[in-house]
């Protein structure tokens, strides 16, 4: 499989990365290079093979359903580019 310029622009939109016409063109070539390289996986017979979902076979640990943390609003917004009274500020999203 390979990608064309329109697909690259659509994927960039999905990934929320602004790309110029020139960048999109360059990426098309690069992505096709990588997709061409991974193409060889199609020759592997994977019939009846389970996909790996857990690297080490183990049951996921569950913690007790209790409040163990919190009251850290000031820490959470400390690195925000723009915040006010422990809220993150963003451009208007609802008219």
């Amino acid at each position: 499989m390979s990608v064309d310029l329109a697909t690259v622009k659509r994927v960039a939109r999905l990934a929320r990365i602004a790309v110029s016409e020139e960048e999109a063109e360059r990426m098309t070539g690069e992505l096709n290079g990588i997709l061409g390289f991974v193409e060889q996986l199609s020759e592997v017979n994977v019939d009846g093979v389970e996909p790996m979902t857990s690297v080490m076979p183990m049951e996921m640990k569950k913690r007790d359903d209790i409040v163990a943390d919190g009251d850290k609003a000031a820490d959470i917004v400390a690195n925000a580019p723009n915040s006010d009274r422990n809220f993150f500020l963003v451009p208007k999203v609802v008219e």
Binding site: M1, V3, T7, V8, V11, A12, R13, L14, A15, R16, I17, A18, V19, M27, E30, L31, G33, I34, L35, F37, V38, E39, Q40, L41, S42, V44, V46, V49, E50, P51, M52, T53, V55, M56, M58, M60, K61, R63, K72, D75, I76, V77, A78, N79, A80, P81, N82, F88, V90, P91, K92, V93
Partner: protein, 493 residues
């Protein structure tokens, strides 16, 4: 007085506990070395001398009080991927501009709890995506090694290039690193240092900037095998904050140094003999086999038939996980923000300005392979191939193999800004051909120096072990180290 930066961790530990030197003296020696060399080597992106001296002073007090920890007073460098409270943590990316976490990663907290001293944060490929440290927002790192009679700058490998270069250039006693596809072992091989990627789940991933969560593991880079064992013992732990942290006690890895490997079975996988591999790499491998045989190990040929599919499967799984993990960098909660006409425009402009080329490339691949209609063909298939890669190893271990010996990399260190590699991303990816299988299967792997090539540059051997059998890797790597000797660059910087 001898240069204190030349001491291994084990040697420094002995001198500190015998009160022949103080932690402050040791730390000052490293700070002076960093001040003199870092402008050239560029291994550190932030140096924290005040914090280091404060920690060293506290170490001296604990030593005097007889309360020294396992790493008391040992100055370490920390890869910029580890969250360090109040200190620069940016995964060497512009998108985390100015980020200083309000928390400490579990691995670094474990080191400080054992008395280690932080010298600063180390350079790396942006978000650990790269094999040369050239994708860092903070510029390339220079390998302390140069070819004989040459003044051409070489890469230290990547992504833990700053860690490997700092250890090799005596700018820290040891360093933390992380490995998603070879990012500890390949730079260790390129710099004549020892690096171990432990079993997936051995070190907590909590507080480490995520790249590909099912592949990422932290581990140390050190000057010798014993130091690597000492560091891993402190870094590893069982952590309730990481659901993939495995509930197994951490063994005393140092105790396995010096143990015999007599009667052990070492597997030699024929699939690691790849086309175009330099003869020197093959010769190094044969030398490694001979050393282990002399030490009493039995050498057996094994087959890992899905080896060649590990790298292509990796380049689906890792970008897919990265595209998901890196979705959080949107200019809202931390780091860089580039204003736009609306919120989507802000996201797109922020991510366009904040991510470098390689990171964008991988996010794009990941987004594409996870997008509607392609998931089964790419991601699901790659995860099935991953099962087959893991099964290859399981069969070898079931047949009685204790560890597997391979070369660590297909070449020695290459030049900075190599045009051939820059023009073709896949060529750069091939650097990880011998290391990536280990991440795909979640196994432990260690890179240990085996010798120098005709250019006088270090080459590494890799040992792959059973899950949570790092002890076998340490004792076998130590046998190789005893036979090969240790390698240090001659100082030009």
């Amino acid at each position: 007085m001898t240069d204190l930066t030349r001491l291994t961790i084990a040697e420094a530990r002995a001198k500190l506990s015998a009160k022949e030197i103080t932690a402050v003296e040791l730390t000052d020696a490293y700070i002076a070395a960093i001040e003199a060399a870092n402008e050239t080597i560029n291994a550190y992106v932030t140096v924290t001398p005040e914090k280091a001296r404060e920690m060293a002073k506290a170490s001296d007090a604990r030593i005097a009080a007889g309360k020294a920890g396992a790493l008391e007073g040992i100055p370490l460098g920390i890869k910029d991927l580890f969250g360090t409270e109040g200190v620069h943590t940016q995964a060497c990316s512009h998108i985390l501009d100015g980020f200083k976490p309000r928390y400490e990663s579990t691995v670094t907290q474990n080191l400080w709890s054992d008395g280690a001293v932080m010298l600063g944060k180390l350079n790396m490929d942006e978000f650990a995506m790269g094999s040369s440290n050239e994708t860092s927002y903070y510029g390339a790192v220079k390998n302390p090694w140069r070819a004989k009679g040459s003044n051409v700058d070489l890469v230290p490998g990547g992504s833990s290039g700053g860690s490997a270069a700092a250890v090799a250039a005596y700018l820290c006693a040891g360093a933390t690193a992380t490995d998603t596809g070879g990012s500890i072992r390949q730079p260790a091989a390129f710099t004549g240092t020892v690096g171990i990627k432990p079993t997936y789940g051995r070190c907590s991933r909590w507080g480490i900037v995520a790249f590909a969560s099912s592949l990422d593991q932290a581990g140390p880079i050190a000057r010798d095998v014993r130091d690597a064992a000492i560091l891993l013992k402190s870094m590893a732990s069982v952590d309730p904050k990481d659901t993939t942290s495995v509930d197994l006690p951490v063994p005393d890895y140092e105790a396995s140094i010096g143990q015999s490997i007599r009667g052990m079975k070492i597997g030699i996988p024929k699939e690691y003999r790849v086309d175009g591999m330099p003869e020197e790499i093959e010769a190094l491998w044969q030398q490694g086999i001979a050393w282990l045989k002399e030490a009493g190990a039995e050498i057996v040929d094994i087959t890992l038939p899905h080896t060649k599919y590990a790298l292509p499967a990796y380049y689906i799984v890792a970008p897919a996980e990265a595209s998901s993990n890196l979705a959080r960098y949107d200019g809202v909660r931390y780091g860089l923000r580039v204003d736009g006409k609306d919120i989507v425009d802000m996201y797109e402009k922020t991510r366009a300005a904040g991510f470098g080329r390689e990171v964008k490339r991988r996010i794009m691949i990941g987004t594409y392979v996870l997008s509607a209609g392609y998931y089964d063909a790419y991601y699901l298939r790659a995860q099935k191939v991953r099962t087959l890669i893991k099964r290859d190893f399981e069969l070898a271990f079931q047949a009685g193999v204790d560890a597997i010996l391979t070369p660590a990399t297909p070449s020695s260190a290459f030049g900075i800004a190599d045009e051939d590699l820059a023009s073709d991303p896949v060529k750069m990816y091939l650097n990880d051909i011998f290391t990536v299988t280990v991440n795909m299967a979640g196994l432990p792997g260690i890179a240990v120096p085996g010798g120098l090539d005709h250019k006088g540059l270090p080459l590494g051997l890799q040992l792959i072990g059973k899950p949570f059998d790092e002890e076998t890797l340490f004792k076998t790597a130590h046998v190789i180290e005893q036979a090969a000797g240790r390698f240090a660059p001659s100082k030009w910087w």
